[in-house]
């Protein structure tokens, strides 16, 4: 009985050593600066937006004017893997990847006046693991 338990413990220890945990982080660009609430629809201009938020990551053209897109992207990845120490077959693998972004979209009309603002902040809500 003791020998069997020792074998089992030894096997589990070897499996644990062959296993691993991985944590990874990916960051693209920087958090949004400026306060979008200061933009007034019908009054603020393209110049105001450029001065407040800097150059946009994307400029899209729509049939009724331009759109500026500002974004900050984050990805949190974690995985747990338990592997057979001899055959290298994975007994168990768990992975989780969370991709989130902060995004600000400003819509302009042809005269360069703000016609719409949308902001979304999700990177702060991401769990550590």
């Amino acid at each position: 009985m003791r020998v069997a338990r020792r074998h089992l413990l030894g096997w589990l220890l070897a499996a644990a050593l062959a296993s691993g945990c991985t944590v990874a982080r990916y960051y693209q660009d920087v958090p949004l600066r400026g306060d979008p609430s200061v933009l007034v629809e019908g009054q603020s201009t393209k110049s105001d937006v450029l001065r407040l938020f800097g150059p946009p990551q994307q400029i899209q053209h729509q049939t009724d004017g331009d759109t500026f897109v500002y974004a900050y992207e984050r990805t949190n990845y974690s995985s747990l893997r338990i592997q057979d120490p001899i055959t290298r077959i994975n007994w168990f693998t768990y992975t989780r990847q969370l991709e989130n972004h902060d995004k600000l979209v400003v819509l302009f009309d042809f005269a360069g006046v703000v016609r719409g603002v949308a902001v979304d902040r999700h990177t702060q809500d991401m769990p550590v693991l």
Binding site: L17, G20, C21, V23, R25, Y27, P55, I59, F110
Partner: protein
């Protein structure tokens, strides 16, 4: 008890000795000169001067500007009417970028940690219909890159 501690140390020692650290750096294009950027003047600096200062841009807005906003009437052939007048309907711009990325990974036997952080300096210059600078914006982000990943964040 001592023997157990000895065994534990013996078990952990290879985990530390066999571990590794990876660091990587990515540099794309060249840094943007802030002195040159400060010399841009709205309504005065021309497109050619921008090209002389910064060279070819990484991105050019290549939108066809004649399709939208052209009044319909001039297409109908009426005697004595003027030809269609092009109207600037969207910003034409040049974009200059300098991108840097720092990668860092700690590889242990039981635990691995990796980090990749990418940031860009961006200069966007908008031109008006006379090819003069209408507006521009610059933002430096690469100085916010953490040098040693997690430890310097």
């Amino acid at each position: 008890m001592r023997r157990r501690i000895g065994l534990l140390i013996a078990g952990l020692l290879p985990a530390v000795c066999l571990s590794g650290c990876v660091m990587g750096r990515v540099y794309r294009d060249h840094p943007l000169d802030e002195v040159k950027i400060a010399s841009i003047q709205r309504g005065q600096t021309s497109k050619q001067e921008i090209l002389d200062l910064f060279g070819p841009p990484q991105e050019i807005d290549a939108r066809e500007l004649t399709a939208i906003g052209v009044p319909f009437e001039p297409f109908v052939s009426r005697r004595g009417e003027k030809p269609p007048v092009e109207r600037l309907v969207a910003a034409r711009y040049f974009r200059y970028t300098y991108t840097r990325a720092n990668a860092m990974a700690v590889i242990l036997i039981l635990f691995n940690y990796g980090e990749f952080d990418q940031k860009s300096d961006n200069l966007v210059v908008f031109f008006d219909g006379d090819n003069k600078v209408e507006d521009f914006a610059f933002r430096r982000e690469t100085d916010q890159l953490p040098r040693y990943g997690f430890w310097s964040r």
